[in-house]
Each structure stands twice: as C-alpha cells, then as structure tokens.
C-alpha cells in the first residue's frame, strides 16, 4: 500500500537522521538519568514506599525526557527549509504525521527501556514481575505521549518560545493518560496483575490513544498548511 510505504520512508528518514547525530536521544537519556538521581535524594528509600510511587516517578521521567525528543520532531525540519519540501511532496499530511510519530515512538521507547533497569538498580526495586503487562502499559502510554507530542511539535514549530510551549500545551492534555499509566505502572511494579480495579485505566488509555490519534490525523493538514 502506497500510504504505508510513504509512512515507512518518513519514519526511516527521521530515525536515520537522529541516529547519525544522536543529539536528541543523548540529551533525553542524560536528562532521564539526572531526574532519576535527583528524585532519589528526595524520597525515603523503603522498598514499599518506592513501589507505591514507582508509577508516578517513572512516568514523570518518561514524560520529561520524552519531550526533548518530541520537540526535535518537527524542529529538525527547520534548518535549510526542509519542512517546505515535505509539505510540497505528494504525500498526505497524515502520512507525514504518522511517519514522524512512529519514529518518535521508537526513540522515546528506547529511552524508557534504558531508564527502567537504571531505576531498578538505583532504587533496588524488582520491576519484572508482571513484565508483559508492564510492556503493554508502556506501549499504550508512550503512544499517547507521542501522538500529542508530535502534533503539538508541528503546531509549535514556527512560533516563539517553542521549547517552552510544547511542554506547557502537552502536559495538561496528557494528564488523564499519565494518570492512568502511573496507576497501572505502580500496581504492576508492585507485582499486582491487571484486575477489575485497574482494567478501567487500561480501557481509558486505549480510548485516549484512539481518540487523539483520530483527531490528530484529521487536523494535521490544517496545522501544516493552515
């Protein structure tokens, strides 16, 4: 399918460019590390205490470090006016958006997968007890963050104070998804599988992802061309 191929071309382009310079991913990993260290100064380190806040802590790390990558997403098209060429190319705006969103997803997920073991080591927490379900929550939560972050990256690419505006706009919108992801992650790190209590959070995450992916796909042309 041509659409899928075009999405793939954009994703590969973004990943290749990023992996060659590694600017955003290094900054993001470094930032994640710093936050993990700083938080360890802030909290009493009883195992139960950390397990309770693990979801909150991890998703704050993921959201903050992820923003560094999401910001670059459309900002990398500014030098040399590459964004013009992408908009002029005969690809649907939705293909451009999905291509970039997938590339961001991979990069942010990579930072998260590196942060998890570091978290486990620093805080002496075993987080692998419900590993498949934890990975599911990671994928769903990260996709929500990525979708919102990518569309707002397009929205803020040409405006003043871009680096400040992106988090300011993204985090309030993300509150429900982050809340859900935090609740689920805390429970899963503590070893409780997803049950009737927490399955609603899972459904909410899936709903959030679906709704905002659809809204972004509909509005992306307006954001790119006006």
């Amino acid at each position: 399918m041509r659409f899928a191929r075009l999405v793939w071309v954009v994703t590969v382009k973004d990943l290749r460019a990023e992996l060659r310079t590694k600017e955003a991913i290094n900054a993001s990993l470094g930032f994640a590390l710093v936050i993990l260290i700083l938080f360890s100064f802030a909290f009493e380190r009883s195992i139960e205490g950390v397990r309770e806040i693990s979801g909150g802590l991890l998703w704050i790390v993921f959201a903050f470090a992820g923003t560094l990558i999401l910001n670059r997403s459309f900002a990398r098209e500014l030098p040399n006016d590459c964004l013009d060429a992408l908009i002029a190319a005969p690809i649907p705006g939705s293909a451009l958006f999905l291509g970039k969103a997938f590339a961001n997803f991979v990069l942010v997920l990579a930072v998260e997968l590196v942060s998890l073991p570091i978290f486990g080591i620093f805080y002496n927490v075993q987080w692998t007890q419900q590993l498949p379900e934890l990975m599911l929550v990671l994928l769903l939560g990260t996709w929500g963050l990525t979708v919102i972050g990518t569309i707002f990256s397009a929205l803020t690419v040409n405006i003043r104070l871009r680096e400040v505006m992106l988090p300011m706009l993204t985090y309030p919108i993300m509150v429900p998804a982050l809340l859900g992801a935090m609740q689920l992650t805390s429970a899963l790190v503590a070893g409780t599988p997803i049950g009737p209590d927490t399955s609603s959070w899972l459904k909410m995450l899936i709903g959030f992802d679906l709704i905002y992916t659809a809204v972004s796909l509909v509005l992306v042309e307006t954001v790119l061309v006006g």
Binding site: R2, R5, L6, V9, V10, K13, R16, A17, R20, T21, P79, N80, D81, C82, D84, A85, L86, I87, A88, A89, P90, I91, P92, V225, G226
Partner: protein, 233 residues
C-alpha cells in the same frame, strides 16, 4: 489549459492584504518572470501557488487542479530560499529520499543520474553538512528537478548562486523549456531571468501592475518595465 492559472487571488495576514486580486497565467511551455521590489508580494504569491498556504479569496489551478491535490504536487517542483536538503544525510540519501516521497519507479537510479547532471557524482556519499555553498545549491537544484516536474516554481533562484551553479541552473531551465516545462520565477537578477522569460509580470504592493509578453526592449533594458509601470502607485 494553462499550466498555472491564478484567478482573483487575495492573501491576507490578519486583515492586511499581502496579495490583492491577482490574476495571471503561465501557459504550458512558457516562462513567466515575476519582478517587483522587495515586499511586493513575489514570495507570498509563489508560496501560495505552491500550496504552502491557502489564499483568502480566489482560485489557483495547476493543470486544472488545486495546488494541494496530490497529482498537482507530483508535477510541481519548488525552489525557495532554503536548499531543502538534510545536513545529516548524504547527497545520495537525500535524493533517494525525495525519489521515494515522489514515488519514482527507481529512486536510486534517478538520484545517481541527477547527481551526475549537477556535477555532484564524486561526492554522492558525502554528508551535505560538509559541502561547500555552491555544492549545496546544486544539490537543491537536483532535488527540485529529480521527479521531472512539469511546473517549476522558483523564488529568486539565481540569488546567491556561484557561477558554476548559475550555469547548471540556466542550462537545466533552458532544456526544461525546450521539453515543454512551465516556469514561474521571481527574480531580482533581471538579465538572467529575462533571457529565459516568455512573459513578464510586475508586482507592486500585492497587485499586478503589468502583465505581458517579454519583449526584446525588456531584455536589453531591464529597468524599463519598472520605470514605465513600477513605483508611484
């Protein structure tokens, strides 16, 4: 059918009209030179024709289709102020990327061919950030011509080009016109542009002050159009 038709186009920034009731055409195989002083609206007009922003009023058609139509975009090539190639990728990777975005049957081969034609075959695998300015400009030209567009929209293409790049571009434009391509080109370099132009449009404060065929008088005395139809109004 005209290759490019602009009919009654207004472009507003807020309430300020940057383009006012623009009406012009570029017939297929013709070369329309857009001249006018800075701020007249040449860049705005070209970008609106290319589909980067929507006009407030009026219609634009490229071979009878809207600029944002996928088929229209496939047949259009645009060179703006930036080179629109990625510093972190090599020349070959850049052109192959655009080849794939334009769904060319063999992007790799087309890329190699155009690197050859713009004298960049030697540095095909070099990263663009290591290129000299002239090399970057020639790559930009290759990028715009790669998918064999039928309509070329060029915003001051000769500005800041070195001699080699100017020669490459002029030769490609001449060949293109001979093949029936249509060119709409804004310019300050009147001499180079008017040698290629078949038609001339003078823009003043967002309006078309003069539209007509390019005459030998214009080529021998480029300032003539400005003097006769330009400032004052």
């Amino acid at each position: 059918m005209n290759a490019v038709a602009v009919d009654g186009v207004w472009k507003f920034y807020g309430d300020f009209p940057a383009l006012r009731n623009i009406r012009l055409e570029a017939p297929e195989g013709g070369c329309l030179a857009l001249i006018g002083r800075n701020g007249a609206g040449k860049t705005t007009l070209l970008r609106t024709i290319a589909g980067f922003s929507r006009p407030g009023k009026g219609r634009i058609e490229i071979f009878g289709k809207e600029p944002r139509d996928i088929q229209a975009r496939r047949r259009m090539g645009y060179i703006g102020h930036g080179i629109s190639v990625y510093d972190e990728l090599s020349a070959l990777e850049n052109l192959t990327l655009y080849g794939k975005l334009y769904s060319l049957p063999d992007p790799h081969r087309a890329a190699l061919e155009w690197l050859e034609r713009t004298g960049l075959a030697r540095v095909a695998h070099g990263l663009v950030r290591e290129f000299s300015r002239g090399m970057r400009q020639r790559l930009a030209v290759a990028r715009a011509f790669l998918h064999e567009p039928s309509v070329l929209l060029l915003d001051e293409p000769f500005t800041a080009l070195d001699d080699r790049a100017i020669a490459v571009l002029q030769s490609l434009l001449r060949d293109g016109l001979a093949q029936g391509k249509t060119i709409v080109m804004s310019t300050h370099q009147l001499r180079e542009a008017l040698e290629l132009a078949t038609h001339v449009a003078l823009l003043n404060r967002g309006q078309v002050a003069f539209l007509g065929p390019c005459t030998p008088e214009m080529v021998s005395d480029p300032g003539y159009v400005y003097a006769r139809y330009g400032e004052g109004g």
